[in-house]
Structures are given as structure tokens and as C-alpha cells.
């Protein structure tokens, strides 16, 4: 009879043999470098649509908490839009547009067009996602307080 340890050893051995003797499988299609970017961009679009959808679904909900939360959905939607565009623009940039060095980081960005300018300002996306997170946190906090007040009134 095999012990558990010897059984695990056998499995690892077989796995190593299989992985060590791999060769290109023609049936599996290989994907080029832009695939990661496309997947990421599609995910941004999904996030954006989800935020718009959830905003519309919750627009009839009343209360301060919900107002803040809906505002956070708006910020997240705008942030997604901004990031989607910025990612798109950055893919088309020339590396020569990044000049100078601070350590391993470029010091200047040379903007030739309005899209380049958009890229520069779009890179500062935290100006959108920080307010989005802040609004969400505030909204949740207010909702919690409203719940507390309602339950204490009911208890009374």
C-alpha cells in the first residue's frame, strides 16, 4: 500500500516529467503582446458600464448615504473612462517623448498634441479615484448611521 507521502511524491514526479518534456502544441493558439492591454481595456469598459448600470439601478434610493455612494459610482465611471483613454493614448506614444532622468525615471514629457496633453493630465488619475473611494466610504458610513438610528427608534 502507498502512503500519502509516497503518493504525493509520485504525483510531483509525473508532473515534472510532463512539464519537462513539453513541446509547442499546434492546437493551442498563441497570443501576441497586445492581448494583455486589450483584456485590461475591456475590463475597464466593463467596470465603466457596471458603474453606469448600478448608478441607474440605485437612482431611486433615498438618503444621504446613497447620494454619496451614487457620487462614487460617477467618479469611478469617469475614472474608468479616463484610464481607458489614457491607456489607449500611451500605447501610441514615442519613447523619445520621455526625456531626462531622475534615477531610472524620466524627468520630462514632451507633448506635441492635445492627446499628449491629455495623457499627461490623465496620468494623474488619483485625482478621480481618491474622491471616488472617499465618497464610497462616506456613503457607507452614513448608511450605517441611518441604520443605527432606525433600529434605535424601533427599539424605543
Amino acid at each position: 500500500m502507498f502512503t500519502i507521502r509516497s503518493r504525493v511524491g509520485w504525483y510531483i514526479g509525473i508532473l515534472c516529467c510532463v512539464l519537462g518534456r513539453t513541446s509547442p502544441a499546434l492546437a493551442i493558439q498563441t497570443h501576441g503582446p497586445p492581448e494583455g492591454l486589450y483584456a485590461h481595456q475591456i475590463a475597464h469598459l466593463g467596470f465603466l458600464v457596471a458603474m453606469v448600470y448600478i448608478y441607474l439601478r440605485t437612482r431611486k434610493r433615498n438618503g444621504d448615504g446613497w447620494r454619496w455612494i451614487r457620487l462614487s459610482f460617477v467618479f469611478f465611471a469617469v475614472w474608468n473612462l479616463n484610464t481607458f483613454i489614457t491607456h489607449g493614448v500611451s500605447a501610441a506614444l514615442d519613447p523619445a517623448q520621455f526625456q531626462g532622468r531622475i534615477g531610472g525615471l524620466p524627468q520630462y514629457f514632451v507633448a506635441h498634441s492635445s492627446m499628449d496633453l491629455y495623457f499627461f493630465f490623465g496620468k494623474m488619475d488619483h485625482l478621480l479615484c481618491i474622491p471616488a473611494g472617499l465618497c464610497l466610504g462616506l456613503g457607507l458610513r452614513k448608511m450605517y448611521r441611518e441604520t443605527q438610528r432606525t433600529s434605535s427608534e424601533n427599539d424605543f
Binding site: H40, I54, I69, H112, L117, L127, Y144
Partner: protein
């Protein structure tokens, strides 16, 4: 146009933003965690916050590491990490999008389910309202009582009659609401008799439907009300009885009217009997008078026995006056009897022609007429009873003096024969009047639940001596299944004695009387039979057997009222008395009496 833009601004915003995002992630998670996750939207917000928090941590860490590695010239490390960070971000975006869309789907399902539930609730409410309307429209009280004897539901009629609101009576024990005197269910007896028990107990005993009359307290006046109850069980899924539905109808007026009718019948019986007695008394009374006057003429005015004969004559004359008085009472009673129909016609002509008002008016007028007649009959009955007592006293005086004179008279002499005639006829008068007196006495008697077998045993003890003298054997065959009967034991004793004496008279000597009790197969009645092995009853006698004053006994030994009175007594108990000849010889009298309370048996039929 070319702009050279300083990237340190971007680095500054990115660095500070990343640090702030880390703080925000923790705060958002804390706030989301504090919200209770009982509703779908709160669960969504919690999961969204967790995802955004994870995204914030991943992104901020990624950005910080990028600056650290690139600034320090370790670009290759960052390039190895960057796809992982980006991939995680992508995954989180997908998760957030999925969460949002799934929330929408679940929310739609929930709303559809809620709408369905609301629709079902509305339908249920509609059905409930309809049923409530139906039971509220009933013109009889309806109440549902649970196993703990608590009221679970009641209709409007019940609430109105109880002068209570629904909130006040739901959950209230029925015995406290309906029988105010009961504090606990074990104390709850609506009547002294065992036959009159709680309907719930009857339902538990497996009776599906029961109609009975209870005495409840009026919630306002606290007066006793006669309530007719019909009870049905409500079975649970397991077949056990969970609730009892009671419909209650106030029959106090009906019961009172029945009592009036019974009383009226009794009083009418007295007056009718008094009329017959007056006629029956004539012959023996005038025989006494004739003989007494004849004897008085034969003796000197101051001779022995003259004063006694004078007293006899005086009292017979008094008897004659009293019998005339009774005849007058009878004539007055029957002549001025209030005709209910005629009274209604007179009253109705002046009143509205509307049908329902007519019915109510007729009911009221009939009740008033009955009361008028009852009052009059009661007065006449009382008068008849007092006259009967006076008559009895006069007869006793006549009898006493005649027996006194007879003691001193020469045996076998003419005067002794005359005095014997006087005594015999006086005794006949006494028997006739005693029948009337017995009837008047029976009016005030009360009924009770009686064990028939035991009662019969007591009665048989009374006749045992007579039966032994005549060498008559009494054979009893009592059934143990015979239930108690609601009866007047004294009246029924009179019936049994009559039947036993009649049987003994028919046998004369050396015979057998069989007394048998049994429960009728229907379970509603009990049967008591008295059979003898005498000669039986001839056909022509059978036809007149229950006719008042009809007797086959030798002149003077019977009044002819025994069987008539016995039959009336049995009828008053809601039963019947039948007679027939046995094929093997002799006669059998069978009494049929309803089991339990008379209202239970008669109403329940």
C-alpha cells in the same frame, strides 16, 4: 506646438494618491463590514467594497513598487511584476462588473418574487375578506375555539352580542367569556347535570356534530340566556382535532315559550280534570247525601248519631257547592280563553301591512295572548287546587263520621248497610279527588338526572310486600348500558307503581311480572317494559285503556285515571307509553324515554 511637462507632478500625485488609496481601502472595508449583510444591496455593497479595496491595495502597491524599482534602476524586476499587478487589476475589474450585473439580475428576480408574493398576499387577503364577509353576514353567532379553550376567531354578530371588540376577545378563554362564573376550565359546568357538558369535551369524545342547549350569561345584564350550540371539529393535517367551530343561537324566547306552553298544558289539564272530577263526584256524593238523609230521618233529632249525620249532610252539601264552584271555574276558563289568532287579526288590522312587521307583530301578539291565558290559567289552576283541597277536607270529615257511626252500628242492620254505602261512596269521592290533588302537586316538581335502573329497584322495594302476599314473582332484567334520564323521579315512580299494580291486579295471584330496561339501538332513548303473564287485555278494553275514568275494576276500587295520568306524565318527559298483548299471553307496557337533557335530545334530533 511642443510642451515640455515636468513628470515629477505626475509622480507626486501618483505617490500620494497610492498611499491615500491604501488608507481608503482599509476604511472602506471597515465601513462595509459594519453594515449588516441582511439585504441583497448591502451584500453587494460589501462585496463591491472588498473588491475595490483589493484593487486599491494592488494598484497602490504596484505604483509604489514601480517607482522604487525604476528609480533604483531595477527596471527588470518591475517588468516582471507589472503584468501580475495589471492582471490582478483586470481580474478585479471583471469581478466588480460581474458583481454589479449579477446584483441587477438577482434584484430583478427578487422583485419578480416580491411581486408574486404581493399578488398572492392580495389574493389571500381577498379570500380572507370574502370569508370574513360571509361569516359576518351570518345572522347567528359564530366562534372558533382552539384546544386551549381560547377564542381564535369570531364573527360580527358574536362581537356585537358580546358587546366586545375583536381585540378584546381573541385569546380569551371561552369559559370566562361565556360562563362568567368559571375561573378555570375544570370548574366550567354550564349545568349541574353531567349530561350537560362542554361541547369541546364532546368533540374530543369523537362526536362530529352536536346540537345542545347551554346556559350562558348575558354580557350586559348578566342574566342567564338559553343558547343553542352546534359544534363541529376542525381537523389538522394529522387528523387530530385542532379547533372547534361553534354556532350559537339565542333560543331564550323559544325556551320560555315552550315552558309557558308546558305550564299552560298542565294548567289546562287541571281545569279539564277538575271538570271531569266534578261530574264523576256527582253520583257517589249524592249517594252519600241520600243515605245520610235517609238515616237521619230514621233517628230522633237528639238521638245517638244525629249530630254526626248532620255533620255528614252539611259537609256533603259543602262538597256539592265546591263541585259547582269547580264547574263554574271550568266554564269561566274555557269561555274567556283569549284566541291568539283573533287577537292578531284585531291588532294586525291597525298595524303596518308590511310582511316582516306583520310576522314580528304576530309573534308579539301571540306571546302576549299566551301570557294572558297563562296568567288566567295559573289563577284558575290555583283556585282549582284550593277547591280540591277543601273538597278533600270535606270528604275526610264525611268519611271520618261515617266510619265513627259504622263502628257503633249493629252489624247486618239496615243502618249498618246504609253507613257502609256512605263510607264506600265517600272513599270513591276521596280517590277521585286524590287524582286531581296529585296532578296539582306535580306542577311544582323539578326534573333531575336519574339512574333508571336504581330508581326502578327503589320502586320495586315499595311493591315487594304486596307482590309477596299475592305470590307474584318479580323478574328484573336491567341493562347496564342504560344512560341517566332527565326526569321527575316522583312522577315516574307514580307511573311505575301504576303499571306494577295494574299488572298485579291483572294476574290476581300466582304469576310473574318481568321488568326490563334496555338502550334503544339508536342510543337516543331508553326502554322500560313491564310484562305480566295475566290474561291480557281484551280488544274493546285496549281501545279505551287511556280514557279518563275508564276502569275495568270493581266499582269503587279504581278511579280510571291511573293510565291516563301515567301516559300524560311520560309524554311530559318527551317519551311515549305503549301497550300490547304478548303472543304467549299477558300484556306488556313499554315506556320510551329520551336519554340526557330533554332539550339536548329533542333539539338534537
Amino acid at each position: 506646438m511642443t510642451f515640455e511637462l515636468p513628470l515629477f507632478l505626475v509622480y507626486l500625485v501618483d505617490g500620494i494618491g497610492s498611499l491615500l488609496m491604501l488608507v481608503l481601502a482599509g476604511w472602506i472595508f471597515y465601513e462595509a463590514h459594519r453594515l449588516r449583510h441582511r439585504s441583497l444591496i448591502n451584500l453587494y455593497l460589501f462585496l463591491l467594497s472588498c473588491s475595490l479595496g483589493a484593487f486599491a491595495v494592488n494598484r497602490a502597491t504596484g505604483h509604489i513598487l514601480r517607482y522604487v524599482f525604476r528609480y533604483s534602476g531595477q527596471t527588470h524586476i518591475w517588468e516582471a511584476i507589472a503584468p501580475i499587478s495589471g492582471g490582478v487589476n483586470t481580474l478585479i475589474f471583471v469581478i466588480i462588473a460581474s458583481l454589479s450585473f449579477y446584483y441587477g439580475i438577482f434584484r430583478n428576480l427578487q422583485e419578480t418574487r416580491n411581486r408574486e408574493k404581493e399578488r398572492h398576499l392580495k389574493e389571500l387577503q381577498k379570500n380572507h375578506d370574502f370569508l370574513q364577509k360571509v361569516i359576518d353576514s351570518l345572522n347567528t353567532q359564530l366562534v372558533v375555539i382552539d384546544k386551549e379553550y381560547r377564542i381564535a376567531m369570531a364573527n360580527r354578530k358574536f362581537l356585537n352580542d358580546m358587546a366586545r371588540s375583536k381585540g378584546e376577545i381573541i385569546g380569551l378563554p371561552c369559559y370566562q367569556l361565556l360562563h362568567r362564573s368559571c375561573d378555570t376550565v375544570t370548574d366550567c359546568r354550564t349545568d349541574e347535570s353531567d349530561a350537560h357538558i362542554c361541547p369541546w369535551r364532546r368533540i374530543h369524545n369523537g362526536e362530529n356534530l352536536h346540537l345542545m342547549t347551554h346556559v350562558h350569561r348575558d354580557p350586559v345584564t348578566q342574566k342567564a340566556r338559553h343558547i343553542e350550540i352546534s359544534a363541529s371539529p376542525v381537523h389538522g393535517n394529522g387528523g387530530e382535532v385542532e379547533y372547534m367551530i361553534e354556532t350559537l343561537t339565542d333560543v331564550t324566547d323559544k325556551v320560555k315559550l315552550e315552558q309557558i306552553q308546558v305550564q299552560q298544558e298542565k294548567l289546562t289539564g287541571i281545569v279539564e280534570l277538575a271538570s271531569a272530577v266534578s261530574h264523576e263526584l256527582n253520583t257517589p256524593m249524592f249517594t252519600v247525601l241520600g243515605n245520610a238523609q235517609l238515616l237521619k230521618r230514621q233517628i230522633k233529632p237528639d238521638g245517638p248519631g244525629a249530630s254526626e249525620l248532620t255533620a255528614i249532610i252539611r259537609n256533603v252539601k259543602k262538597m256539592s257547592q265546591l263541585t259547582r264552584k269547580m264547574v263554574n271555574i271550568t266554564e269561566y276558563t274555557t269561555k274567556d280563553y283569549v284566541d291568539e289568532e283573533k287577537l292578531f287579526d284585531i291588532a294586525g288590522a291597525a298595524e303596518s301591512k308590511e310582511e316582516d312587521r306583520d310576522a314580528r307583530q304576530k309573534d308579539r301578539v301571540q306571546r302576549e295572548a299566551r301570557w294572558l291565558n297563562l296568567e288566567k290559567m295559573a289563577a284558575m289552576g290555583q283556585l282549582t287546587a284550593s277547591v280540591a283541597h277543601e273538597l278533600n277536607n270535606a270528604i275526610n270529615i264525611v268519611l271520618g263520621y261515617s266510619q265513627l257511626l259504622l263502628r257503633d252500628a249493629q252489624p247486618e242492620s239496615q243502618s249498618s248497610n246504609d253507613l257502609q254505602k256512605i263510607e264506600k261512596n265517600a272513599k270513591q269521592c276521596q280517590r277521585i279527588v286524590s287524582g286531581l290533588l296529585d296532578y296539582t302537586r306535580s306542577m311544582s316538581r323539578e326534573k333531575q338526572s336519574v339512574d333508571v335502573n336504581r330508581h326502578l329497584e327503589d320502586v320495586l322495594k315499595l311493591v315487594a310486600h304486596r307482590m309477596a302476599l299475592d305470590n307474584i314473582e318479580i323478574v328484573t332484567q336491567f341493562s347496564p348500558d342504560v344512560n341517566p334520564v332527565w326526569m321527575d323521579p316522583d312522577e315516574m315512580k307514580q307511573v311505575y307503581l301504576n303499571l306494577l299494580n295494574n299488572a298485579a291486579d291483572a294476574i290476581e295471584q300466582n304469576g310473574r311480572i318481568r321488568v326490563k330496561t334496555a338502550l334503544d339501538p339508536s342510543g337516543q332513548d331508553i326502554l322500560v317494559s313491564f310484562s305480566d303473564n295475566g290474561p291480557g287485555i281484551p280488544k274493546q278494553v285496549m281501545e279505551k285503556l287511556f280514557t279518563p275514568f275508564f276502569t275495568t275494576k270493581e266499582d269503587g276500587t279504581g278511579t280510571g285515571l291511573g293510565l291516563n295520568v301515567s301516559r300524560d306524565i311520560v309524554h311530559k318527559h318527551g317519551g311515549s307509553l305503549r301497550v300490547k298483548n304478548r303472543p304467549e299471553g299477558g300484556a306488556v307496557f313499554t315506556i320510551r324515554l329520551p336519554v340526557g337533557h330533554p332539550s339536548t335530545s329533542t333539539d338534537g334530533g
